[in-house]
Amino acid sequence: MKELFEKELKVINIGLEGFAETLKERETPVMHVRWQPPAMGDADLLSLLDKLK
């Protein structure tokens, strides 16, 4: 964690875009991920995908 405290915070924001916007506004480096439920939200398909990994 020492390393975290010593470096500039660079944030990957996954989910609510408002959180990325406020970071952007105060000039914190941020990349927003427009996340969507994987496998179109289909639980069976998702477990298949995870097996393929």
Binding site: E3, V11, G15, M31, Q36, M40
Partner: protein
Amino acid sequence: MVLKSYISKNMFRDSVYLMRLSNTVRGFAGVLEAEVIIGTDHNKKFLQSGGLWSEEIEKEAGANDLIIAIKAENEEKAEQAIQDALAELNKSVERENLLGEFVPRTFETALHNFPGANMALISIPGRYVEREADQILDAGLNMMIFSDNVTLEAEIALKNKAKEKGLLVMGPDCGTAIINGVPLAFANEVKRGKIGIVAAAGTGLQEVSTLINNLGEGISQGIGTGGRDVKEAVGGISMIMGLNALLEDEQTEVVVIVSKPPDASVTEKVLAVAQKSKKPVVVSFLGGDLNQVSAAGCVPAATLKEAAHKAVCLARNEDASGAVELKVDDNLLKEHKGKIAGSQKYLRALYSGGTLAYEALLMLQGIIKPIYTNLNYKGAEAIADVYKSTGHTIIDFGEDEFTQGRLHPMIDPSLRNTRIVNEAKDPETAVVVLDLVLGYNAHPDPAGSALEAIIEAQQLAAKEGRHLIFVTSVCGTDSDPQKRNEQVAKLEAAGVLVFPSNADAVAFLAALL
């Protein structure tokens, strides 16, 4: 009256954005009710129970589709509302483009395009968190999990994995953190300084960090853990890692721990680490055993204000051994006691910050009783109907019963505003208590919004010959987007009492009642 729906295939927006958009659409001309929502099974049930169901939704909408459901005065108004909602959605795409030239759809792509990223902020539906968080740990990033509804098993697995890798997991259900001076999610703009905080209570971290700032000192790090971290099953993994990190951190000279009382085994573990510290450690386990804290060589604090004050004293090498007194202005007390009628007997505390509501309950138990509340607290009575106050009432509007399908009251205070007006209609209401929580991602003008309701409430009470006392505290700093000084000035101009902290506000109540 007509019901009309529109389904946009393969369109996804986050839930907070959609709740805001739903609020906007409800304000369109001729619209009686509206929801803009993703077509998950849970959401579809919600539409069904809310009377916004249609055959089209039943047949066409899936979990990856966006539904616009409108109840309007007539066909034309409904159609117009759908068109205007679609225009708003398009605007959001344009706005997103401002976030950067490139908006990836997955964490992997983001990481590839954003080398050196060291923190992930996760706010996706709880059931998907473990899958995402696990790969984020594999990539060596720390994380803050804002999402709730993550299973206990997932929390334990993620935290153990993170511990092995020396990475920090804040949350799940972590609303506030300040890392390297950067406020994450619901946090305030505070000065950097030499006081480090680790907290299992979101608004607790906001209250302590802003009070420290307002007393002239600053924060090195504000680490959140999520409330469940201090339960025996999780064992305080994040709290202990955070505490150790602050004890090792050169910028941190004083450490503050804030939490509701952890489970006994976790308290022991946390205090054992604190006991070995060469740095002073202030511990505020709200409602916990102060003697146990003292016995571990730590500085006990009964309230969040006391934690902030003692930390500031210690940062300035001043004595912090005595309790921090909460002084009540006798003249102010006399003036307000004289204004309330004999029938006005009761306190109605309407909180948006859970920890602040809990602190109020803790301070008032034994002084006034019974207290009816929706908080889970041994010393108080469970309220029968959360929508209707009875006797002395303390309500946390951030609890699940108020936030299902709605924005948190710190973002959208409309439910609480309605309640303020309702309290004024009750001849037994003497004093209404409100917390106004400022900071990033909160409502842009909490004071302005509350004042609309306060003024209406005051007029209603005045018509019936009563005077209502409004007691508030404003959790925030002058550097917050809403500027604390401006918020306070607005409230005071309307005759609202504003106290420097929640504990000060509650001390006034205790004396008044």
